[in-house]
Symmetry: C3
């Protein structure tokens, strides 16, 4: 099932428009190419509408937002909505500054997202702040662990339903829900947190998976999350004496490049709640 | 011959000013260092004139253009022209958005480029749009293959003559012409298309080769194109089980770092038409 | 001693705010993660004060400065000063353009830096230009070698005293002084100059070391410089036939990831003058 989602990405070759931060943008581009998609980056307000028009999906990441790129996010997002394109939000640092929180909340309020992907703290910030998700009980712990799992699953389902979007909360355990079912995913390695940008890469990957699997959105997002986590495991297994986080970064992207349906179906570790 | 062009880069150590996109800029910097040059990046309009003055060449890449960097491109370009410096245009995405097409065409009309490097679709967009290249017959296929080669060679020669520049069209087969002769180059690997930024890297490399070989421009550009393609072949030959596009990126830059005159002269695959 | 400084970084896990250039920013982020710290990047003036407030230190690098990020540097810097945070300046390209020189000098005049790190030519530019360092005798050679060492040591001590900061001048021989003592460091490899961004990485690393060792500033900065240089030596020892500067970049960051107290204490090559 999840393997089919990957295969559809390879067949469909989705073109993904990214308005993303300049820290991890190169890895984001390479991860899209690794999974079989293609990247375009553009954040200039006068450029983004044309660019998003020729793409299948738009990945908005607020990691190094500025006044100009924020305008670009809204203009591109509205055009993507108008065209019925896949639209994903990665609210990097929501909760860490007023500008980030306000921007993420305004994006949620003015645009219709297909998917939102962040860590639990960013998603809680959105749940508390956004008009479209008011009434979500965000009284949940700041880490998803076996102990906090039940309440986190309730939270992600509730938030996904109110936001009318697929929501992916990633961390030690990853949750992906469309409000109805919730994938609880246990792929990945803790060492992935020692590489910059695995979250940004996953957001781009998820956008590509959603574009290529329009009729199975929650499965598509779950497949992207499992692909990234499994690539983290495979990449780690290829590490040699003396290797560190820079080589690990390369090995993870390499593992996505080499991932196939069978490997993903065999390696994906998830349950549905 | 081409090997001498590389050797001149190593001896001359050209300093290249890059106004380039933030996606592939790190690889652009490392590829310049790999070939024996040095990179400086600056796109702030109030900074670019001083910076380009101390450099030997300027590489303008519109991959993530914005209003401020566009102004920077014109100010730097005018200064480079004034000083007689090598000036290269990489019209990334010309044809994909109005802003990119208009900017590339305006750059062509207002500045005198030493070299223009892009894929066939970008170059066709310029040929159709620019006043300085009006009258170029751009009725050529969107890919350079053995079947379309004759018409593509006619097109690149015609465009180079009208633009009064060396033109490099890169793809499965690469063409480099000054309007008189045309190098038809068959180096490279299709897997290079699965890495972000090999085109951007080539533009920077070409700028360095042109700076170091002012009297042999078409040979210098052809040498840069062969160096990149051959590095793609050498890099691929060093790939191991499990390696993917991220590692391939490193191996290509590594191969440029280790390229010498003899390797290039032996490995360059080209004919002159 | 220096190994303890590294150990404190691993224990303390400092969060470092970086206003840095887009060329080397990904490596800067990975090097901070490699040493045990965490990176945040933000240059939007309306965002930087909130972001720097939650961090332990701020690393200002003017490598691709623009009008907006310059405003961000001042707003973030003033907030960092107000909060008593570690504040580091990397005056990339000071002396190469009027805007860079003026910006670096103004930053020096309006902010109180904990540390300034650059090459000898950048630091000389600051010494000549800044009101807070007027009277520093900058009549010193443009490279720190065994021959020019005595005058360079006098210069760095004098500049550090006038600037009331730890000053790190890096090159073939590295000098780190607080105005009183001066560490003369002989770690590193010349091939590090063939990689983009080892200086930027070192500035970020130094910021993390200073945050984690507030009571031993000159030792902390010296420890960061030794860590980077030693990582360059270890990374080089792991290079294989065919490897070049792109792989070397990865191996250096990997070596920082794997560096421990014992390795650093054993490998650090310095004398105190």
């Amino acid at each position: 099932m999840l393997g089919d989602c990957l295969e559809n990405v390879r067949k469909n070759g989705p073109l993904v428009h990214n308005i993303t931060n300049y820290v991890t943008v190169n890895d984001v581009a390479n991860v899209l190419l690794a999974c079989g998609g293609s990247p375009i980056m553009s954040d200039e307000p006068d450029d983004v509408e044309d660019i998003t028009t020729i793409c299948g999906g738009l990945n908005i990441n607020i990691g190094t937002l500025n006044k100009s790129s924020i305008e670009g996010m809204f203009r591109a997002g509205r055009k993507a909505n108008e065209l019925g394109h896949t639209l994903l939000l990665d609210p990097v640092g929501a909760g860490a500054s007023k500008l980030r929180t306000d921007t993420a909340v305004r994006l949620m309020d003015e645009l219709k997202f297909t998917c939102i992907r962040g860590n639990i703290s960013e998603i809680k910030t959105l749940a508390l702040g956004s008009g479209t998700t008011k009434g979500v009980d965000a009284d949940v712990a700041d880490a998803v662990t076996e102990e906090t799992l039940d309440s986190a699953v309730r939270f992600v389902k509730d938030f996904a339903r109110k936001a009318d979007a697929v929501v992916a909360i990633t961390g030690a355990i990853d949750l992906v829900s469309d409000g109805d079912k919730c994938f609880v995913i246990r792929n990945g390695r803790p060492e992935m947190g020692r590489i910059t940008g695995t979250g940004c890469q996953l957001s781009a990957l998820t956008t590509a998976f959603l574009v290529a699997n329009p009729d199975n959105r929650v499965e598509a997002a779950a497949a992207a999350v499992c692909t990234m986590g499994l690539a983290g495991e495979i990449g780690w297994s290829r590490m040699q004496e003396g290797d560190g986080n820079s080589t690990y970064r390369n090995r993870i992207i390499d593992a996505i490049y080499n991932m196939d349906k069978e490997t993903l179906d065999k390696g994906a570790k998830y349950e549905i709640r």
